[in-house]
């Protein structure tokens, strides 16, 4: 398979046989004539017939393309009647005493050169119009008529260049697409081809060789690529792309039930996040693959006591039941101390992001932590639950957490209370410390979830809320990307999965990079699920360069 790059006109994907456009070949000889008047007559008869043909072509064009674009054949009429062009032809016949064919060829070359030399791109294209009418005159002089080319079967038609009449005269049902070595998207041919709704690739260059006559070809005018002798992978990929491009025109609802696969078949899970149980409705509508993050802080906010075990079970159960067997990941309490009512009296912290927060609070208040763990385990029998622990910065800390987990399970068993003993446990990777320790962590937990907001903040030492430094907050910082790569590799070596949450998860420019680097899932708001799924489904990693993906 080889591929050629050009400029695509009219987005489409076409697979078919490549046939070269056969022009009536007029070999022009220079012949001396004695009867100049007879050559004049021959020329004038050819000119008259050409004018008639162009008139008919204009009529056909008026039916198939816009009036404005059909006007190009009116211009051809003017060119055929042009006193300069005709004067030039007649002068040559008279002065050189030569045949009309030779004179037309010479006029054509002269005027073609003149237009080709013009710097203005638009006018340069008009050289093709000169070629078009001259070809017509030569065909008439040589054969008495113009033989229009038509392939026997519908095909992808190839040519060095296409003149407007060729673009117009070919029956629509016989052409799948046009591909040319030269030409530009501003040519009259291109305008006509586009108006006739025929996919067109121009400017493919010298690689469009005659030897591919009859070969299978596939073209993608979205990317401007022609594949000659395409392999099976390319054909499947392009067929898939065609389907998806057609879907694209129908809004987002068609994406419900569709997998998050790229055109070249790479997959990633898309999960939603929620802040309180009420949000679950939107998640169900969004067709997320699961709940990648259920925050539990709502239970502790806006109140003057701690939530009871029963209260928590009710809240979790409501969500878990609705998610059915889709994964639901519940994060244990994760906020700064000042947000808790019974701690608000404490001395304010200079730097809450680095302060008493999250798992540190839980481990300092075992009773509160136990209650939450018990509630999650008790609710676990209603669906597919995992628990996510934030801010863990050492193996000792992790072991401490696991002790609470085991203690909870043992107590529940002893009490004869039902729960799912196989609830999966995960860690949030959000500090450089957790990145450095992920190999050790991976031996104890079932998955990682990278919170990119915190990882960026703690790695780049940037407080995003601070307007003086927020420009340093960068979702594509190499240091952070490299950390993610390390975590994914390490996790996969240990046989566990990695999910991404936060600002990087919604940076669409990173989707390709995530998939390429093996990230298993990303978690975004419910409203972002379908737009991101759509984005994923138009990605084609096989078409991307490494550096393009970041």
């Amino acid at each position: 398979m080889i591929s050629l790059k050009g400029t695509g006109i009219l987005g489409d994907i076409v697979i078919g046989r490549l046939i070269f456009y056969e022009r009536q070949f007029c070999k022009v000889y220079k012949e001396s004539v004695s009867d100049v008047a007879k050559e004049y007559q021959r020329y004038q008869a050819a000119q008259e017939l050409a004018i008639k043909q162009v008139y008919l072509l204009h009529q056909k064009a008026l039916q198939e393309v816009s009036e404005e674009n059909a006007a190009i054949f009116e211009a051809h009429d003017l060119l055929l009647r042009d006193m300069d062009y005709n004067g030039y032809v007649l002068d040559i016949i008279k002065n050189e005493k030569v045949n009309a064919e030779y004179a037309v060829k010479k006029a054509s070359d002269t005027f073609y050169e003149m237009f080709s030399a013009i710097e203005n791109d638009y006018l340069k294209q008009r050289a093709a119009d000169i070629l078009d009418i001259s070809q017509r005159l030569l065909s008439i002089l040589t054969y008495g008529k113009v033989e229009n080319f038509e392939p026997s079967e519908p095909a992808i038609l190839a040519a060095d260049e296409l003149v407007p009449s060729e673009a117009m005269q070919i029956p629509r049902e016989k052409v799948l697409a046009f591909v040319t070595k030269y030409g530009s998207e501003t040519s009259h041919s291109a305008i006509i081809v586009k108006d006739r709704n025929i996919p067109f690739l121009v400017g493919l260059g010298e690689g469009l060789l005659r030897q591919y006559e009859g070969h299978l070809a596939a073209l993608d005018t979205y990317s401007g690529t022609l594949y000659l002798d395409p392999d099976e992978f390319t054909i499947n990929r392009l067929t898939e792309k065609k389907t998806r491009e057609e879907e694209k025109r129908q809004g987002l609802s068609y994406l419900i039930g569709k997998p998050n696969t790229t055109i070249d078949g790479k997959q990633i899970e898309l999960f939603a996040s929620i802040t309180e149980p009420l949000d679950i409705e939107q998640v169900l509508r969004s067709d997320a693959g699961g709940l990648g993050l259920m925050r539990s802080e709502f239970l502790y906010l806006k109140r003057d006591n701690l939530p009871s075990e029963e209260e928590q079970i009710n809240a979790y159960r409501e969500v878990i039941r609705q998610m059915k067997d889709k994964p639901t990941v519940i994060r244990t309490l994760d906020f700064a101390a000042r947000k808790m009512i019974d701690m608000s009296e404490r001395q304010p912290e200079n730097n809450p992001a680095l302060g008493f927060r999250s798992i540190r609070i839980c481990l300092a208040r075992p009773q509160m932590f136990r209650t939450q763990l018990r509630a999650i385990y008790r609710a676990s029998q209603y669906g597919n639950v995992s628990i996510l622990f934030p801010m863990v910065d050492s193996v000792e800390q992790l072991k401490q957490i696991l002790n609470y987990v085991n203690e909870t399970k043992e107590t529940l068993s002893a009490e004869g209370i039902e729960f799912n003993p196989n609830v999966k446990l995960g860690l949030i990777i959000e500090t450089p410390a957790s990145v450095m320790l992920c190999r050790e962590f991976a031996q104890y937990v079932d998955f990682f979830s990278i919170d990119t907001n915190d990882l960026i903040q703690y790695t780049l030492a940037v407080d995003r809320q601070n307007p003086q430094v927020n420009r340093y907050y960068n979702t594509r910082h190499t240091a952070v990307l490299r950390m993610i790569k390390t975590v994914v590799q390490t996790a996969h070596e240990a046989g566990i999965k990695v999910n991404i949450t936060g600002d990087m998860a919604v940076d669409e420019g990173l989707l390709g990079w995530f998939i390429q680097n093996g990230v298993d899932a990303i978690t975004v708001s419910a409203a972002s699920i379908l737009p991101i799924r759509q984005k994923i489904r138009y990605l084609d990693l096989s078409e991307m360069e490494e550096n393009e993906i970041i």
Binding site: D84, I118, Y122
Partner: protein, 86 residues
């Protein structure tokens, strides 16, 4: 001989479409019509000449008519070129 100067303000300059319209408008007159542009005299009835002259947006041209109904022809040409908006 009568003449008048006008400025060409179409985005593509005096391209194929305006040229076509001009030639059509001149068809009903028999006088000579020349356009003076960039030190050259261009036959306004020849599409080749008009296109090859590359009269771009912003150019000033002088239209000159001489012969039968020259004044009427000049006014028709000026009116047409001023009416084109493409």
């Amino acid at each position: 001989m009568v003449s008048e100067k006008i400025r060409i303000n179409y985005p593509e300059g005096l391209s194929i479409r305006p040229s076509q319209l001009l030639i059509k408008a001149l068809a009903s007159y028999n006088c000579d019509v020349m356009i003076r542009f960039g030190g050259r005299e261009i036959n306004a009835r020849s599409i080749m000449n008009l296109l090859a002259a590359e009269i771009r947006k912003g150019s000033e041209i002088q239209i000159k008519c001489s012969g039968e109904k020259e004044e009427e022809c000049l006014q028709a040409a000026v009116a047409l070129l001023n009416s084109i908006s493409c």
